[in-house]
Symmetry: C2
Subunit: 416 residues, 2 copies
């Protein structure tokens, strides 16, 4: 049921950013403008929920229209993101009380939070806290993660573009190592993101058979790393194809459950901060098989790769943003927007799922998406990924580099 009008919206971006999270912000903005009379202001938290905790709030209508328009093709989180996990309200309510106080002060009637599993947890907890305190604030989660690991949705905006980047990079690097392999480099290893789920590593599999047999090996976190089997397969590939391209997920573990990567510090969510499995494998291949190896770690280059945007992905990110505003208008709350399927007109149909069902959960690669050999993807997986990497959405360029949005990010004066 539509609620009392003229309350303000509070939107924020949370967790690791993506190449298309700003396209979601643009979708929210466009739909907000279309329904301008239904709402007060569209306020945006600077640096995610920290913007509420610190009262650092941006009024989007104070920004330049041209720069807002560029959000559709700008990577990163234009309003700043955060890695803040709210404390358990049963143990410490301080943050919740502060956020509620700020929301009341700024007449917030709608809360839109754009993030992955951890961020949906924040939205879910806040929603419950508001209810408990009988405060009518509609809470909507909006999906975003390059990891593609949120349950209840066909896909997560951000994944398609990074998948396109990884597939393309794997194909390109395979042509390079193929050229060099006769007298020089025989093995190329590409490390991609994906802590617990192998979606991004899987994306490389769509190019297999296109120009050559690469990637000959994909290492998924869903499979225990078996050194002997890995080295045998590497050697076989070099023997058969002349070279071997390996795509490895940062989060692979051995049989004892330890990460293969050399370093493991923790981020503020308590997750191990990984990176560096490629050089470990490179030394292994070089030392035990004697092949010359090259290796790359894509890290933020993949996550910010808006220059090779997937048109399907950009559209999806935009559509979930629009849908969030429509849910607010329909009086819907306590759900995350989901993606269902692509329509004939190119837009994505959307749905919803209870926040509780997505918070802190991870959707791994289904068993029928991993090949029997454990080093490849199935046709079903390839078909799925292809649906998300269709079309090229390029940013405009000025003087040879992309022309990305530059916002002022001036915060509004703090209210007393």
């Amino acid at each position: 049921m539509p609620k009392e009008l003229k309350h303000n919206i509070f939107y924020a971006q949370s967790g690791g950013v993506t190449p298309v999270i700003n396209a979601t912000a643009r979708g929210i903005y466009d739909e907000f403008k279309k329904n301008r009379k239904s709402f007060g202001k569209l306020l945006i938290g600077k640096n995610g929920i920290a913007g509420a905790l610190n009262e650092e709030i941006i009024d989007i209508e104070k920004e330049n229209e041209k720069e807002i328009a560029k959000l559709i093709h700008t990577p990163g989180g234009a309003f700043g993101s955060c890695r803040i996990k709210l404390k358990d309200p049963k143990k410490d309510q301080q943050e919740f009380v502060k956020i509620l106080e700020v929301f009341k002060k700024y007449n917030i009637g709608y809360f839109l939070y754009n993030g992955g599993g951890d961020s949906q947890d924040t939205t879910s907890k806040l929603s419950k806290f508001f209810k408990k305190n009988k405060i009518d604030i509609q809470c909507i989660g909006i999906p975003k993660t390059i990891d593609n690991d949120l349950p209840g949705t066909y896909a997560c905006p951000g994944f398609g573009t990074v998948a396109k980047y990884i597939a393309t990079s794997t194909l390109e690097a395979s042509l390079d190592v193929s050229s060099m392999s006769k007298s020089s480099t025989k093995v190329f290893i590409l490390e991609v993101m994906g802590r617990h789920a192998g979606w991004l590593a899987a994306a490389s599999g769509v190019v297999k058979g296109k120009n050559n047999n690469s990637p000959q090996i994909i290492l998924f976190p869903e499979r225990k790393f078996d050194k002997k089997n890995f080295l045998r397969r590497t050697k076989e590939s070099v023997n058969n194809d002349g070279f071997c391209v390996i795509v490895v997920s940062e989060g692979i573990k051995n049989k004892r459950g330890d990460f293969i990567s050399s370093s493991s510090t923790k981020d503020s969510f308590g997750h191990a901060h990984l990176g560096g499995v490629a050089p470990v494998l490179a030394n292994m291949v070089s030392g035990e098989l004697g092949f010359k190896v090259h290796w790359a770690v894509a890290d933020y280059l993949q996550r910010a790769s808006r220059h090779i945007g997937s048109e399907a992905d950009v559209q999806q990110a935009y559509d979930v943003g629009k849908q969030a505003i429509r849910f607010l208008i329909s009086g819907i709350s306590d759900v995350m927007v989901t993606v269902i399927k692509r329509k004939k007109n190119g837009c994505w149909s959307t749905g919803k799922i209870a926040l509780e069902k997505v918070a802190n959960r991870e959707k791994k690669l289904p068993e029928n998406f991993i090949g029997k050999d454990g080093f490849s993807i199935t046709k079903a997986c390839s078909k799925y990924i292809q649906s998300l990497i269709q079309g090229e959405s390029y940013p405009p360029y000025v003087n040879g580099v992309p022309d990305y949005s530059k916002l002022k990010l001036k915060t509004i004066k703090k209210l007393k």
Copy 2:
């Protein structure tokens, strides 16, 4: 003076490949077809000069025209490359004798070798050997190297595209770390290629000031690495800007002249095979300053990055290929094609330089291209790099990934 007609041409690709070396092959092919009556066949060595040593030779006219056309937008070395340094003919003539024997057998009157400094050395040595043996084979070197370190030419085909990739990636990653910096990652380190010359690291400097102050630090191999100064600058950047983006050339050394990178094996040219300076710096920054750090090693991803081709670079690669054929027709020999400047019609004017003057030489960044602080580039450098990254030359896509050339590479029957 034009020579006796109907001799065959022998072309080969050598050394580390580039995203546009195949555009040079396409330029050669197009100009060859335009002057079809002046020549016998256009024969191509499989895997560089190894194709002559092993008599593995491709007749390009046996390939599919459509796939040849795609060479303009295909990365890697489509005919295979090599890292083979011919022995000093004063000590061991065996390889030279073999090549001459093969060239005679296959009626080769023209030798086109496409590579960097080491490859120009091969061309130069062969040219002298042919002269000494009174064999009339015209020898032309064609420049190619992403390192941009060949002397006597305005630029080297391949550099512009990789420079565009690095500049764009630096800008994109800066937007990512900027979003995360408030509560998470504060430093991002990108390792790029460049053994002795900092051209590729310098390319990142063109985006400084565009959306933010990144890259705050560029580490050039032309400057000794000073840990104390580096850490001070990193800390200052985080204090001033909230985050710090560092672009580092793989080849940086300390005051004692040792590589900072952790591993150093050697390739067949005797060069140290580098990679892995980014994680060394990441541990340094994390350990000594306590900042959360992310790092990437672009490796082959940069060198094969044809998906973000610079139009200026692709045109340049194509034009040097065409010019090589024109030199053959004009009777010119013992020179490398050089690039002079871009013409109003978009094509590059070309010239020539004696092979002896380019073989085994490296052009480092000029002093007036590096900022006084040693961590930045000057306006002159920025202007130069911008001239090479202008325009976007995208490959066509099929099912979400680039449609790259796939040649049969069938070798012709060995003659007796």
